[in-house]
Amino acid sequence: MADTQVNLQDVTKGLSKDTQIPHAEILLNFAEAIVKRDVAMISNTRNIVFETLGNDITVDAAAVASAFHGFVRIADTIGIPYDTAAQGQDVPEIREITGINNFYRIQEAN
């Protein structure tokens, strides 16, 4: 994973060509459809993931995207401090680069 090239802005802006993860585009299209809860879009993007990567990765991708529908709700309803992320290794510069500093919770805190 240390050798994987990722554009951190993809977190807020969507996939860029700088990110070099195999099949990133079809997986992120699937993830974004899931967040939108758009059934037709989910079906289309899921079919592409399945045809390209097979059953097990399709199931894993659905499961991971779903898991983070839970984590975010715990973090944001309980008010877990964002600077404790990554076991307290949160780096403010990364928050700035990714655009996370523009999120409501951080704007409200400042």
């Binding site: 994973m1 240390a2 994987t4 993809d10 977190v11 990110t19 993860i21 195999p22 990133a24 997986l27 992120l28 699937f30 993830a31 974004e32 899931i34 967040v35 809860r37 989910i42 079906s43 899921r46 399945f50 097979g54 059953n55 097990d56 990765i57 399709t58 199931v59 894993d60 991708a61 659905a62 499961a63 991971v64 995207a65 779903s66 898991a67 983070f68 529908h69 839970g70 984590f71 975010v72 709700r73 715990i74 973090a75 944001d76 309803t77 309980i78 008010g79 877990i80 401090p81 964002y82 404790t84 992320a85 076991q87 928050r95 996370i100 999120f103 409501y104 919770r105 951080i106 409200e108």
Partner: protein, 246 residues
């Protein structure tokens, strides 16, 4: 009635995920720590209702999430303050605030009830999102189970890092029953610790969908068919779309 998630779909779902859903629905239908079975199931029903609430849609689109006046389209099964927690927790979690949390609590919820409801919101969101993502119908809610809530309050729970009380690993006691796999667990893991049973139930479900804590910081290791970089890219994007800063 037996619980049957992922019926009539074209995918072979990992058996640990299927089992986790069945067990999570069974636990959700049982009396909790502060809520009885009927109320827990009403929370699950309200989570589903929130997704079609027009007021929630307006809030989500509004520049300022707390400036709008209106009423949630609810099932009518719960208190207004419970409905507010559930609907905003489902629809716009990234734009909540400590002041809003205090207002919800002042509306008639105890901290324990609040945390238990959050655990149900998060669990139902995971399960319903997985079934939707794989093209399955929503799992039918189980029937209620008679019994009284356990009403257990961990003696070490205190407000420190978060808006709600948390049991820090060093404050956990034997009566809490096992809380943490490691004293170094992240704060996201500790979030529901004020209601230990809710916390254990939630992580039993969540770990099967993502990865368990022992693997979280082993970035070069993947225990799933999907690679770790692929997994983290999806996770980060989903969190980003929710405006989750954690």
């Amino acid at each position: 009635m037996s619980i049957k998630p992922f019926e009539n779909i074209n995918y072979d779902v990992r058996q640990d995920i299927v089992n986790a859903h069945i067990e999570a629905w069974e636990r959700l239908a049982a009396p909790g720590t502060w809520l009885d079975s009927e109320r827990r199931l009403a929370v699950a029903t309200e989570v589903r209702q929130a997704r079609s609430c027009n007021f929630c849609k307006k809030i989500k689109e509004a520049l300022s999430p707390h400036a709008l006046e209106g009423k949630h389209q609810s099932t009518g099964l719960l208190l207004d303050t419970e409905v507010e927690l559930i609907h905003r927790g489902v629809s716009d979690p990234g734009r909540l605030s400590e002041a809003w949390t205090q207002k919800v609590l002042a509306g008639g919820l105890t901290q324990g009830e609040y945390v238990e409801i959050v655990g149900i919101i998060a669990s139902v969101m995971i399960m319903d999102t997985t079934t939707m993502a794989l093209g399955a119908n929503e799992t039918k809610l189980p029937k209620k189970v008679f019994g009284k809530p356990a009403r257990y309050l961990p003696p070490g729970a205190k407000v420190k890092a978060a808006w709600l009380p948390i049991v820090e690993p060093e404050d956990a006691v034997e009566t809490d029953q096992p809380l943490y796999p490691s004293p170094k667990v992240g704060y996201i893991y500790r979030g529901l610790s004020m209601v230990p049973e809710t916390m254990r139930n939630y992580w039993a479900l969540a770990n099967t969908h993502y990865i368990s804590g022992e693997f979280v910081y082993q970035f070069d290791k993947s225990i799933r068919a999907i690679s770790r970089p692929q997994m983290e890219l999806m996770a980060a994007r989903v969190s980003g779309l929710h405006q989750c800063a954690y």
